[in-house]
Amino acid sequence: MNKESYSIPIGPVHPSLKEPMTFNFEIYGERIEKVNLAPGDNHRGIEFMGRQRNPIQIIYLAERICGICSASHPFAFCRAVENAAGIEVPERAQYIRVIIAELERIHSHILWAGVAAHELGFDSVLYLSWRAREKVLDLLEDLTGNRINYGIFMIGGVRRDISEEQIPRIRETLEYYKDIYGKIEDIFLNDPTIALRTKNVGVLTKEDALRLCAVGPTTRASGINKDIRQDQPYSAYADLEVKAITPDVLTGEVNGDVYDRIIVRLLELVQSIQIIEQCLDNMPSGEIVVEKKLVKLLNQLKKAKGEGIGRHEAPRGEVIHYVKLNESELPEVWKARAPTYNNLMTWVPMLIGQQIADIPIVIASIDPCIACMDRVTILNKANGQKDTLTKKDLHELSVQKTRRIAP
């Protein structure tokens, strides 16, 4: 540590972070030299609880991993269980799932736009964008019965159908977003203040994004053409045209800064609207769930044996759920990996060399979701007073272990 540098702890309770998370910055003058992250404030032991519940109960637990991604986690979890138990989902249910997931993306991206504007001190945009967001929440409430935590996913399908009367309401909401999209784009892409605060701020190079396995809009803004909906199409996405969006579509260049992340999210808003429209046009009729009787479904899952993986492109990036069923009521293993877990470490290259005042917008720019991420605690061996192991210590431990186990 430099003699003149000083450290600033931020969090876990901090007004610019809605979620608990601890940061420690080492700062020289105004420049950030070192970033330390200490997650774990939001760890609730969800995977542990999942191992004591049956798969249908886990859907509701998975929904509550994160209130903003409350369609993404059940989507991935249901796909994992279906994969493990060999259940085929009816086509209509697959379309409904995609519609709900894309509506969630619209709400999540508008929410993010408001939060980002708030971090820049642009509070009127926060209020306007959150007012715009209420429209999609109304639609989700109409379709699923709840504004947040939809409870629509079921293993082998969905729990509610989309009726004929609801389709015009969906179209009307999409028209509303098409109307206001021009305004949103104008505010975020043409406003000189936003450009000044976001261009060349928090740059994540393509190499760093690849090295740190970043996912979602964070990695696409660095010019990596990665999107699960495009690379491994699943559900109804297989029938639809989904292309990963990189910022060069609009500007012709990739900088990997906060501005590019705004571009990617705004373009994905349009993409989601198009996907839902295609879904409505092509939606087949038929059943919405394989097995309506839950007892029967549970019995089927009780007999199932095998491993399954479910992937889904959540608004923040790829979410993976892994499930191992072993002929028992409870799953043997359930593992969830949320996008923020990957994106977390991208903060370090983004923040180093920036100013203190840029911390909130850079942190917000990956759309972090600590509630999603904090499900893993790594316990380091606390020897005496030292509870963090430095790289040197780790290296020494590693050398000792090599010596110990070497013949």
């Binding site: 509550r64 994160c66 903003i68 929410l111 209020y127 306007l128 967001r133």
Partner: protein, 149 residues
Amino acid sequence: MKLNKYFERSLWVFHLNTGSCNGCDIEIVAGLTPRYDLERFGIKLVGSPKHADVLLVTGPVTSKMLDRVKRVYEQTPDPKAVIVVGACGTSGGVFYNSYNISGSVDKVIPVDVYVPGCPPRPEAIINGVLQAWIKLEKLRESMKVARVK
């Protein structure tokens, strides 16, 4: 202007997330933004518990946050009210059998108002804040009376 005897002062709220899933948190912000617009009553979120009249707590208390919750509570000046938003703060909710959760918020700090729901609608949160307001005003009245005596 005074709306009625309870609306004597603007209420300032500090939002504390103790391991919530974000669901309640975004509903709280939704309650402040134009559709529901709590701010028209002068109610606003503040950046420090030292400025707050009310603590709005969401989420079950995770073990790492336990000490922080107590500290934030102690930093809030008296008279204060604590509102718990959401099912997991009131009872543990869906996370009832976790190893890392110290249980509901009322096991850690005294709670005045519970807003049930997973997550509660913004209307319910607004109602909870108003209940806390009434409680606080009564508390202030009784403190005034005690001072006069």
